[in-house]
Point group: C2
């Protein structure tokens, strides 16, 4: 069975208790953007107390602020957020490869496939290049110095420990 | 008060009941990737019944599969997921602007700032170009046809109605 076959039953249960249909497309209650990893052990709503309507949540492999930039600009300029919190986490997959090792792995899984070889060379996998604290600090620095991120933005950087669930502020 | 000042108290409460510290960096239980929007009314864990450890969750402005590609490749090739569910939602901010209108707005907010003008021209804001069902179908097509997405991947496309909380399969 595919996982999507379980969506309807779970969603029926959610809909039966859903009472926030008056929430419009507007400034999130906390004027907050959270950037965090796609990792299956991360759930920012539960771990940070983010309720429906509170914040924009951006997730990608590693919690890359660079990749999140487009969405941050839309969030700030059109929807009024003024704070960004960046989370990276312990035991993250982004520390297990290099751009070169992952490119080589994908090419080796489709030997002789020119479409694959060409396409994979166009991807920057954004492998982690620093330790965890430095990785967080680097993303915060990127946001604070970027000419398109609004000057009055509060930017903080955090590490999430996956084995305890605890978050700790780095910058 | 900044929103981040509330993280510690919420996180203390989460940590006090957290008992899943044995979850390693491994294949998510459902071998599933969910792609959805950053919108504050979206909470895939609650709305789809995704527990900690179940799935990789990718979120960006609009739920763009193209922007999520890098993370999908890491998820599939290094962490073993084999299914992708794409969600876009009603009343989405991506339908309220064009690339040109948002670029012009940002430039007008920093008149004469050359750094801003240069930087904004490098951003593709990925404004929605189709109706909601077509937008979902377009992202599913992109994933099914992409040479780097694994051939045996189950890809489904869904619309999330923000005023009811209900999800409906499109493709």
């Amino acid at each position: 069975m595919s996982a999507h076959e379980t969506f309807a039953a779970h969603n029926d249960a959610f809909v039966s208790t859903f009472n926030q249909g008056d929430l419009k497309l507007t400034v999130p209650n906390k004027k907050l953007v959270v950037i965090t990893c796609m990792d299956a052990r991360v759930d920012p709503a539960a771990q940070l107390g983010i309720a429906i309507g509170d914040a924009h949540v951006l997730r990608n492999g590693g919690g890359s602020a660079r990749e999140a930039l487009r969405s941050i600009l839309i969030s700030q300029r059109l929807l009024g957020t003024r704070e960004i919190a960046v989370f990276h986490h312990t035991d993250c997959g982004m520390f297990t490869f290099t751009n070169e090792s992952l490119s080589s792995k994908i090419k080796s899984e489709s030997p002789g496939d020119l479409d694959v070889a060409i396409a994979v060379d166009e991807v920057n996998f954004r492998a982690a290049y620093a330790n965890l604290d430095e990785s967080v600090a680097g993303d915060v620095k990127f946001l604070k110095e970027h000419p398109l991120v609004m000057k009055d933005t509060v930017v903080t950087g955090w590490v999430h420990e996956t084995h305890t669930g605890r978050v700790k502020r780095v910058v």
